[in-house]
Structure formats: structure tokens, C-alpha cells
């Protein structure tokens, strides 16, 4: 049974290898890396760099989904935090900018968590509200304009490098390690999985399920806000209309590819991030191969369907290939 653990991620790793190989075929210099001005460049780095926002989103999303929830508002939260960061960037120092932007994400997460855990709304319903209103709020902050900034600190966050590694990638890696340490280093992981598996029973066993649910939405909001800041820093501006647009769907997709069931329970942080990388590797491959970027949508659709069908309990013959982390029927 312990052999199940490494086998869990096998499908995802294989998928990534296959896609990388395809990318190598369409673009022979795909694996080339070069060091320039103390920063690594190359398609692989590009994949990591561009995959950062979705990877960050998926870190929060996977926990939310593990509690049998979903957060549709992360794209809108990205827009809000990006708008705040861009508006403050040229008048305040980086700590203030970050605190304000992440604080906004925290508030958004609290709102979602409050609706779900205290008012008992269905997650998809509760987060729909902020998904609809959030972009309006972001536009309120930017007053409908695209706000640009030139603060070198914030620009560094999106374009700088640490020891040759792009800052966004380092941040994402740091967040993965931090989240992993918090969740698996404490009992949070087990209690989240129990809450997602059966909230009523967990409550009666003394688990603070409400606090658990509130916490994952707050964390999801903070991750989304961080992703929003990085996205804004990357383009040195905030576009309330398009920042993070549809990225909630990519984040959910990343979590699903990572094998976490939409019905809650078992989850894996690393595999969710791997899912985000798989999505980005495909995107980059399509771009490199010269197809129009719109082609992405078609490929994504096919990937969603394939992953879902592979995980479907109805196709038990195939389920060994890519088993969902959840096995028993609730």
C-alpha cells in the first residue's frame, strides 16, 4: 500500500515528460539555458516564470477544493490586488504595497470564507458573488484606466532574479514550501482532509471545521493576491479588465490534473503545482510551434476531458493510470 504514494504522481510526471518531449520536437532549442546579466533565460525558465500565477493560485485552490469547496473569485482577486499594488507602487515603499495588496486578498478570502463557513452557502455560489463584483471593485480602484507604474522595487518582483532564478519562480517555490510546511508539518492536512471528507462527522469529532474552511479561503485569497501582484509587476501595470481573466479556471484545472477530487478529501500540493506547470508547458509549446494562441483553448478542453475521463469512476479499467486521490465513495 505504501507503493501507492510514489505511484500517485506518476501519471502527472509522465504527462509532463511527454509534453516536454513534444515541445522539444517543435522547438529544438527548448531545453537551452543561458545565463545573461545574472539571470537564466530559456524556454524552460519561461515556462516556470509564466506558470507562476496559476501555480500560486493552485496552491490556495487545492486546499479549498480539498474541503469540498471551490473558489471562483481568484481571478477577480488577482485584479483587485494588482490594481491596489499598481496604484500604490509609485507613492509607497514595497512593504506597504505588498501589505496593502495581500491584505486585500486576505479580506476577500475572509469574505468568501465567511459566506461558506458561517452562513453555510454553497462554495460555488458564495464565490460567484465576488467573481462578478470583484472586477467592478478593481475597476473602481483603477477608475477604469490601465494603471502603470515604474517603481523599481515592484518591477523587480516581476522581472528580477535571485541567484539566476527569476523572482516570481523563487516566490512560487517559497510559497509551495511554506504551504507544504504549514499544512503537512502540522495536523492541518489531516484535519482539512477530514473536513472535506465528512464535515459533520469531523465537527462531532472535535475538529474546528468552520475555522478550517475559513482558513483555506483566506489562504486562497492571499495566494491569489500574491499572484495578482506578480502579474501586475510583470507587465508593470494593472488592467482590471484582463488581469487574471479565466485564471480561476486554469487553477481549478491544475488542481484536477493534480489528481485532487472536486468532491473534496485527499489532496496534494506538489501535484497541483505540477498540474499548473503541465498547463503552462502546453501553452508555451503551442506558442513555440507557431499555432495561434487561441489554439490553447481547444487543447485545454481536450486535456480537461481526458483527465476527467481517466479519473472517472466509471472507467475503472483505466483508473489505475491516473487514480484520483479519493478512492472510497462517500
Amino acid at each position: 500500500m505504501t507503493a501507492l504514494l510514489p505511484r500517485r504522481g506518476l501519471a502527472q510526471i509522465l504527462a509532463l515528460i511527454v509534453i516536454l518531449a513534444v515541445d522539444r520536437v517543435v522547438s529544438p532549442q527548448f531545453f537551452d539555458l543561458r545565463l545573461q546579466d545574472g539571470r537564466l533565460f530559456g524556454s524552460l525558465i519561461d515556462v516556470l516564470n509564466r506558470g507562476t500565477p496559476v501555480a500560486l493560485l493552485s496552491l490556495g485552490m487545492v486546499l479549498v477544493i480539498a474541503t469540498r469547496g471551490i473558489d471562483l473569485s481568484v481571478g477577480a482577486v488577482m485584479a483587485i490586488s494588482g490594481a491596489i499594488a499598481a496604484s500604490l507602487a509609485d507613492s509607497h515603499g514595497l512593504p506597504v504595497v505588498l501589505a496593502a495588496a495581500l491584505g486585500a486578498g486576505l479580506v476577500c478570502g475572509l469574505w468568501n470564507g465567511f459566506l461558506v463557513s458561517v452562513l453555510g452557502m454553497q462554495p460555488i455560489v458564495a464565490t460567484l458573488i465576488l467573481m462578478v463584483a470583484g472586477r467592478g471593485i478593481a475597476q473602481l480602484i483603477t477608475e477604469g484606466r490601465i494603471v502603470t507604474f515604474s517603481s523599481p522595487d515592484l518591477v523587480w518582483l516581476g522581472n528580477g532574479s535571485i541567484l539566476g532564478v527569476p523572482v516570481p519562480v523563487a516566490i512560487a517555490l517559497g510559497m509551495l514550501i511554506l504551504t507544504g510546511a504549514v499544512v503537512r508539518g502540522s495536523a492541518l492536512g489531516l484535519l482539512i482532509e477530514a473536513t472535506g471528507g465528512n464535515a459533520r462527522a469531523s465537527e462531532l469529532a472535535g475538529v474546528g471545521t468552520r475555522a478550517m474552511i475559513l482558513a483555506v479561503y483566506v489562504w486562497c485569497g492571499v495566494c491569489a493576491a500574491l499572484a495578482g501582484v506578480i502579474a501586475a509587476a510583470d507587465i508593470m501595470g494593472a488592467d482590471a479588465n484582463n488581469a487574471g481573466l479565466w485564471l480561476e479556471l486554469d487553477a481549478i484545472l491544475a488542481v484536477v490534473i493534480g489528481g485532487t477530487s472536486l468532491f473534496g478529501g485527499r489532496f496534494s500540493l506538489v501535484l497541483a503545482v505540477l498540474g499548473a506547470l503541465i498547463i503552462q508547458t502546453m501553452n508555451t509549446g503551442i506558442l513555440l510551434s507557431g499555432y495561434p494562441p487561441e489554439f490553447n483553448l481547444l487543447v485545454k478542453a481536450v486535456v480537461v476531458l481526458t483527465v476527467l475521463l481517466l479519473q472517472s469512476p466509471k472507467l475503472s479499467g483505466f483508473s489505475g493510470i491516473m487514480p484520483p486521490l479519493r478512492r472510497a465513495k462517500a
Binding site: M121, L128, V132, G136, L298, K314
Partner: protein, 326 residues
């Protein structure tokens, strides 16, 4: 001790909102404005009717915006580039979209997958396909388009009830009748109540699921045609995000997002409320369009919270007697 049904509250909100708007801008209370409101929101009313069926059955359809977009591009290309007669193009796209919806329904049922994620894939697929067809806006100049746009019933007070508004009203009424008075309608509610029980009670759950998503996509196709009449063009980026407006209209109309309860008439009122907000912002002139989103969000919250309270209230006596069964 049931209180008011949500749809009545929707109606009250609409009437109150309309009265408030009319007090500030007396011009709003004219058949001209109301006629325009119906025309501007015709496609939304059509697609929301289909969404009502899906949501009452306990599902959700995120693909409708993309299906509208695909339809406009397909129709425009078929008529302008491929030389297909408009009516043939219409029939072709309706068959295509119905088939698309049926396929999504089949996948949802056969593989037992959450509708949310399957229709998400459908959304990607339809939008991607419309990009493949054309990424630029294709104007439509077929004569039928000017005929239809010119056609309108004169209303007293100078208003016009346009052809597409009439189509929308017909579909809303037809949808309401279908949902309320037929076996199909009862089965939609049954599915939303409890799929397993519905199956055990002999409802063909699979066939119903396929038909419900087929209906939703079919209506999205019709909405797409109407949208192409409205804009006289086909564009692959049209109706982006319409699924959200649609879901918002359905929820504001008093339909339970978790399924099992709701009405087409309520949805229609929800569409009108959204249209009213838009109209108010246009009249005001100083307010920016993003207030629409915020106002819709606030209304969404209000109605969802209201539903939550009603459900909690309705459950209370049941919960008590269940608790009593020690």
C-alpha cells in the same frame, strides 16, 4: 409560515427599482426605454431560460457564452463567405449547438462527472473553435438581417417591440409552460431534488440530462443568432462572460443554485433587473459601467442570502422532527 416565495421578492425588487429609477429619470418610464431594454437583453433572456432548466436540474452550464460566440461567427461566415442561405445556416447551427449540448449532457451522465467542469471544457472547446473559424469580426449584410432589424411592433408611446424581443418573449413563455405544465418540466425538478431517487422512481435520468443540456445549448444557439441580428456581425469574442450574467439573472430570479426550485418567469424578471441597472447607468451618464458588476454582485449576494435564510427556515421544523427521531 412559508413567507414570500423568492420570485415575488424579485418582482417587488424590480417594481421598486423601476419606480426609483423613474422618479429620478422620468423618461425611463416610457415604452421606448422598456422596448429597448427588451431588445438589448433579448439574447440574455433566451439563454437564461435554458440556464434555468439546467440549474433547477441541479447542474450548471458554463459553455453558453462560448456557444453564442461560436454561433455568431459560424452564421456570419456561412452567410457571407460560404454562400449558405441564412435559414439553412440557422438550421445548421441549431443542430450543431443542440448536438454539442447533448454531448456535454451525455459525458456528464455517462462518466458521472460534475457538470461544472464538463461545461467548462465545453466553454474552452466552443470558444477555441470560434477562434479557429475566424479571429476577426465578420459583418453580415444579408437582406434578411435588415428585414428583421427593421421589423418592430409599434407600442403606444413611441416604443418599438423588435423582432428579437418578440422571439425572446416567445421563448420565455414557451420555457415557462414547458417547465410548469409538462412531464419534462416535472422531471427537471425531480433531477434537482435528488438524482438517485428520481432514477429509482423511473425517471430516465440519463436521457433527461442529455435533453436538458441540449435545450440549454440549443437556446444558446438561438441566442447567438439573435445576437448576430442585434450586432449584424459575427465575432469570436462576442458574449465573453455572458455565462456569469446568465447565472446571475437566474439566481436573482429566485432559482436555487443548488437545484430543485425556481421558475422561468423569475429568471425573466432577473434579466429585466440587470437590464434596468444598465439602463439607469446609461441615463445617469456619470456612473461608469463597472458599477453594473458591483450592483449585480450586491443583488446576487442579497438573493443568495435570502434563499439561504428561506431554506434554513423551511428546514427548521423538519430538522426538529428528524432530531426527535432519536
Amino acid at each position: 409560515m412559508k413567507g414570500l416565495p423568492p420570485v415575488v421578492i424579485t418582482a417587488i425588487v424590480l417594481v421598486l427599482g423601476f419606480a426609483l429609477c423613474a422618479m429620478q429619470f422620468p423618461n425611463i418610464a416610457s415604452t421606448r426605454v422598456v422596448g429597448n431594454l427588451l431588445t438589448d437583453n433579448a439574447f440574455l433572456g433566451i439563454v437564461a431560460t435554458g440556464m434555468t432548466f439546467v440549474i433547477i436540474s441541479g447542474g450548471i452550464d458554463l459553455s453558453v457564452g462560448s456557444v453564442i460566440g461560436f454561433t455568431t461567427v459560424f452564421v456570419a461566415l456561412a452567410i457571407e463567405r460560404w454562400g449558405v442561405p441564412p435559414l439553412v445556416a440557422f438550421v445548421a447551427i441549431l443542430v450543431l449547438s443542440a448536438g454539442f449540448g447533448a454531448a456535454m449532457g451525455a459525458v456528464i451522465h455517462v462518466f458521472d462527472l460534475p457538470p461544472f467542469i464538463v461545461t467548462l471544457a465545453g466553454m474552452f472547446l466552443a470558444r477555441g473553435a470560434s477562434f479557429l473559424l475566424s479571429t476577426e469580426s465578420v459583418p453580415i449584410s444579408a437582406p434578411i438581417y435588415s428585414t428583421v432589424s427593421d421589423f418592430a411592433l409599434r407600442l403606444p408611446g413611441g416604443g418599438r417591440l423588435t423582432a428579437i424581443a418578440i422571439i425572446m418573449l416567445a421563448i420565455v413563455i414557451g420555457g415557462a409552460l414547458l417547465l410548469t405544465f409538462t412531464r419534462f418540466g416535472a422531471n427537471v425538478y425531480a433531477l434537482g431534488g435528488n438524482r438517485v431517487a428520481a432514477n429509482l422512481m423511473g425517471v430516465a435520468v440519463g436521457r433527461m440530462t442529455v435533453r436538458i443540456y441540449m435545450l440549454s445549448s440549443l437556446l444558446a444557439g438561438i441566442a447567438g443568432i439573435v445576437f448576430s441580428f442585434y450586432t449584424s456581425a459575427g465575432y469570436s469574442l462576442s458574449a465573453v462572460g455572458v455565462e456569469l450574467d446568465t447565472i446571475a439573472a437566474v439566481v436573482i430570479g429566485g432559482t436555487l443554485l443548488t437545484g430543485g426550485q425556481g421558475s422561468v418567469i423569475g429568471t425573466f424578471l432577473g434579466v429585466l433587473i440587470q437590464g434596468l441597472i444598465q439602463t439607469y447607468i446609461n441615463f445617469d451618464g456619470t456612473l461608469s459601467s463597472w458599477w453594473t458588476k458591483i450592483a449585480t454582485g450586491v443583488l446576487l449576494f442579497a438573493f443568495i442570502a435570502l434563499q439561504q435564510a428561506l431554506v434554513a427556515l423551511a428546514r427548521r421544523p423538519v430538522a426538529k422532527s428528524a432530531g426527535a427521531a432519536s
